[in-house]
């Protein structure tokens, strides 16, 4: 049971406030923000209480989504609901930010009104809600040169224009109804990979969490078929043949997915509702089919002037045709590091010392497979001792790999039936 729901910006501005039960006082928002600001540390605890008021919050899109509730309510339910609410707001407003929430507050009040009554969650299905929601979303997308970059020279199809820009899916779902928006459907395969490599180069831990997401802008879509690799297998028991089988440990599907063709042909059948849905989630741990995409060779020493020298070589082990983008390596450095001088191998890279997080961040916008980059960092650390070297590392690396999955999962085809009137565009992006 939820007493109140409110949305606060990170600066504490009230964006949305709705009291469902009228039991607790109206100053709850103030109390919450006071508690948040009184705390140090990077994020306040998920559950806080104050004189019988219990706050549960999540952070999405840089905003606080807060519910007040009673002590005996289920945290799983409330957190899931707040996440679902933010996903709904994202679906309806296009993107999730302070600005979009501010511009669409009437729509969000309407959503809240339909989704929750007297503190009880009624429905969060976008199929049901679309019949009730009347307000039009106000889109806040500024003009961007990025849109132009997809137009090829003399209208020729460039390689780039085949991949939809990542911003293509950030528009409100409702506008497709009146404004003649394109009937589009996006299928994303997203894998989060976390790999720990020991200093000796040994793979200590590897985890892949993947999901197939469908974002649907079709007003009424009847049935969709998504075909996965035929050699896709689940669980450890199955014998592996010679071919590059695609294997995952565990799979779970959205409840609307029908699996009658899954066992024989690896086809998912579903009728997507408007908005974004997680069709399938899967996990793979420890046993990656391919080598991790990067190798790092660090050398760390002190020079005669008492400076810390870090020489890093980073090799990308992807096939030469693909590339990683937005690569960022975070290297923790000793406390009290003052200044950084750097030698990087190309001008588009950058490196920066962040004293707050005590780390050097090395950014590489694009990293083609098979390449090797190197960087030399010299750090001025007063009072450098041999013990300070213990504070260097471990290095964290974050990156995106478009059109490549660690498990090798691919989408063979995407079919909609019956055929839509008019041209409908199908985008398949596999980052």
């Amino acid at each position: 049971m939820i007493s109140q729901i409110f949305i606060l910006s990170s600066k504490g501005d009230h964006l949305i406030y709705k009291d469902f039960r009228g039991e607790s006082g109206g100053d709850a928002v103030g109390v919450f923000y006071e508690k948040v600001t009184a705390l140090t540390g990077d994020q306040p605890p998920v559950v806080m209480s104050h004189k019988g008021l219990h706050f549960v919050h999540v952070r999405q899109g840089g905003l606080y989504w807060v519910a007040t509730t009673t002590a005996d309510s289920s945290p799983f339910t409330i957190i899931e609901f707040l996440n679902r609410l933010s996903a709904l707001v994202k679906d309806y407003c296009g993107s999730l930010s302070e600005k979009s929430v501010q511009m669409n507050f009437a729509l969000i009040y309407e959503l809240l009104d339909e989704a929750v009554d007297y503190g009880y969650i009624q429905t969060t299905s976008s199929d049901v809600l679309k019949n009730f929601i009347q307000t039009e979303a106000v889109s806040s997308r500024p003009f961007s040169l990025f849109d132009l970059s997809n137009v090829g020279l003399f209208g020729a199809e460039t390689q780039q224009s085949k991949v939809a820009p990542s911003s293509a899916a950030t528009r409100p779902i409702q506008s497709s109804r009146e404004q003649g928006g394109k009937s589009e459907i996006f299928v994303d395969v997203i894998e989060r990979m976390s790999v720990v490599i020991g200093s000796n180069g040994m793979l200590m831990k590897a985890d892949v969490e993947g999901e197939i997401r469908v974002k649907c802008y079709l007003p009424n879509c009847s049935e969709m078929r998504i075909g996965l690799n035929e050699e896709f297998s689940i669980g450890k028991s199955q014998l592996r043949g010679y071919g590059a089988a695609v294997r995952v440990d565990e799979v779970s599907f959205h409840q609307m997915v029908r699996l009658d063709e899954f066992d024989s042909h690896r086809i998912l059948r579903l009728c997507p509702s408007q908005g974004e849905q997680m069709v399938m989630q899967y996990q793979l741990s420890d046993d990656l089919p391919s080598a991790p995409p990067f190798r790092l060779f660090p050398t760390i020493e002190r020079d005669s002037g008492g400076r810390l020298l870090m020489y890093l070589k980073l090799r990308c082990d992807l096939p030469p045709k693909s590339a990683a983008i937005n690569v960022a390596a975070t290297i923790p450095v000793p406390k009290g590091s003052l200044s950084l001088s750097q030698e990087l191998s190309s001008p588009d890279q950058s490196a920066e010392l962040k004293p707050q997080s005590r780390a050097v961040v090395w950014k590489i916008p694009r990293f083609t497979g098979g390449m090797q980059l190197s960087a030399l960092f010299k750090l001025e650390v007063p009072g450098l001792s041999s013990a300070s070297l213990l504070e260097v590392g471990p290095v964290g690396l974050s990156f995106e790999l478009p059109k490549l999955t660690a498990t090798g999962l691919q989408i063979r085809f995407l079919r909609l039936s019956p055929v839509q009137p008019g041209p409908s565009q199908r985008w398949v992006r596999v980052p």
């Binding site: 501005d13 999540v58 945290p75 429905t123 779970s252 923790p332 013990a387 213990l390």
Partner: protein, 716 residues
Amino acid sequence: MPYLGGEETVRELRRALSNPNVQSDQLRYRNTILKVIRAMSQGVDMSGLFSEMVKACATVDVVQKKLVYVFLCSYAALNPELSLLVINTLRKDCQDPNPMVRSLALRNMTNLRLPSLVEYVEQPLAAGLRDRAACVRRVAVLGWAKLHNLQASSEIDAAVVNELYSLLRDPDPVVMVNCLRALEEILKDEGGVAINKPITHHLLNRLKECDIWGQCQVLRVLQRYRPQSEDELFDILSLLDASLVSPHPPIMAATLSLFLSLCSGQPAVSLAALERVRGPLLAACGSGSREMRFTALCHIQLLLRSIPGLMGAHYKRFFCGYAEPAYIKQRKMQVLVELVNDENVAMLLDELKGYCTDVNAETAQAAITAIGRIGRSYSDRCLEILTGLLGLKQDHITSAVVQTMRDLVWVCPQCSDTVCFALEGCEETLQDSQGRQALLWLLGVYGERVSSAPYTLEVFIDGVRSEASLGVKMELLTATMRLFLCRPAETQDMLGRLLHYCIEEETDMCVRDQALLYYRLLHCGIEETRKVLQGRRSDPSLGVLIGRPAEPVSQWARSFNTLEPLRQGSIETESVSRGSPEHTMFDPKPNADLSNTLDCSRIEKVHSGKEDFVWMEECVRCPTIPRCSPQSLQAAMQLVNIQTLAFTPPQTLPWRVYLYTHTCLDDAPHSTLILGELLYTGEEPQKAEVHKDDKALKGFLSILTTVLHTLSSERA
């Protein structure tokens, strides 16, 4: 927020709202109303526009209607008379052919929350229950619950309750679930909706039709059901098996809760359910939302209390990600500590070692504490890491390491050699009072083995004038006394100086009293002093980490799937308020032969009035206490920083002791004074205390009770 001014905005908006030109233009009218709502949700008081908004409510535009209702429901309580005007429009809307308009009107009619309107609302609500559109019925059902809470005194018609029961068979699943919710509220005094066999089976059969929120609600209500036979129980359990491994964490958690309450009489089945739920819980731990991950982690901690080995093989899932927030990292470390075994200890310690240099000082501290906990079973490896960390010479790390070593030595005395060796030179890096207190304790207890101990203490004693922390001074006194007992030649002079300073110049009563006590104790002779001061150095009985007895599931089943496990520090196994081990680690071991002599019962809870003090009374039955010698009582109290003000001579009735103590929290703006009276009227000793700070008072009481227990157990 550009115009927070208020006054001006309200006036401008009123002019716009009453402008006939605006009113005739659909779009402009709606935009003006939008502006009102926007200002309202930013916190500007818009109640002055109530009458204008009431007029705006009579429109055919559904969007405008919805906006106006948002406004009206927020301010209705301030304008009960004007709200009467809305009722007519609302009642008219209840007859509208469009079901959306009907449900909207009905919902907002009940959301106005005005007791004076109840009589107008009842009739449309009753009609709403029989509406042909499900969305109207959903609203009407909950409307009755709102009505009931609005006028708690008025009895809701039995006919309505019956109708609600019959609507449990409504074809729409949301109506069914709403009926459950409404009946729970209306029949709260009778213990909620009646859960009998037919209703239970009906609900279970329709569970699949509900969405996840509805399923959670049904599963929760069913927790009250008690199956009549074992066969029925197992039928229900098999039916619910699919929900138990549901990919949706809310359903999984609600089902497990239901399982635990249904199988409360069959521990083996409960344990099997916990095993089954392991997969989904681990999956929730890897969820994209970090709040969800946190929730799952906290609940895994609960499960581990009953099956410590449940996640042993999956320890890698609890390694911290680089970018995870501190609160998740700290929980993960708490879980990791529980999962240690011979195979994974090397990997685990390696991982934890990496966290010790985390940017966030609290995370680093938690990692060091976690290593200390593992050190109880694998002391050599852990001490190696801890001594290595001292080499970093960073104040917060050194402080945490010294505190951890102190706690470790208290449990594993065999580590003391390594610890004593490592202590040399720490005092230069230590900054905070907690760390220095820990160092002083170690020097006092193991002074004979640390060659430089007297010199370290001398530095402290020379700086005692500028010492701000009360705790450090008290600890310094005790440490110097202890060191004097084993190395008198080196310490005698500085002890004299310290006692002189504390007795003659110190302004704080606690420190002065303690110094006086030690001074008098020394007068009694060295043997007496030794008896009082040289207590235990360790308490190995606090137990090793592995092989901790598994708690029965029923210990925590009630708090599963509530906010309780997510609270900060709810799982804290060790006291975090760091004092010396003998001060904090009172292990309330229920001594079997004591149970007939000792019995605590709290007579009255805290009285908290407008005054800034709290009064509490507690009764402790331990008849031997008044026969203790006052000196031993005083000495015992002083060891836990409770000072004695005055007491009556022994063997007199009524026998009284007056006590006081300070809370000495470093971060608290002001310290709390606790005054206490121990009263023995011939039958039962009692005590009454005065002052604020509820938590401190409870802590004081528990410490005091423990002291009394210990004393009387010595006498017994």
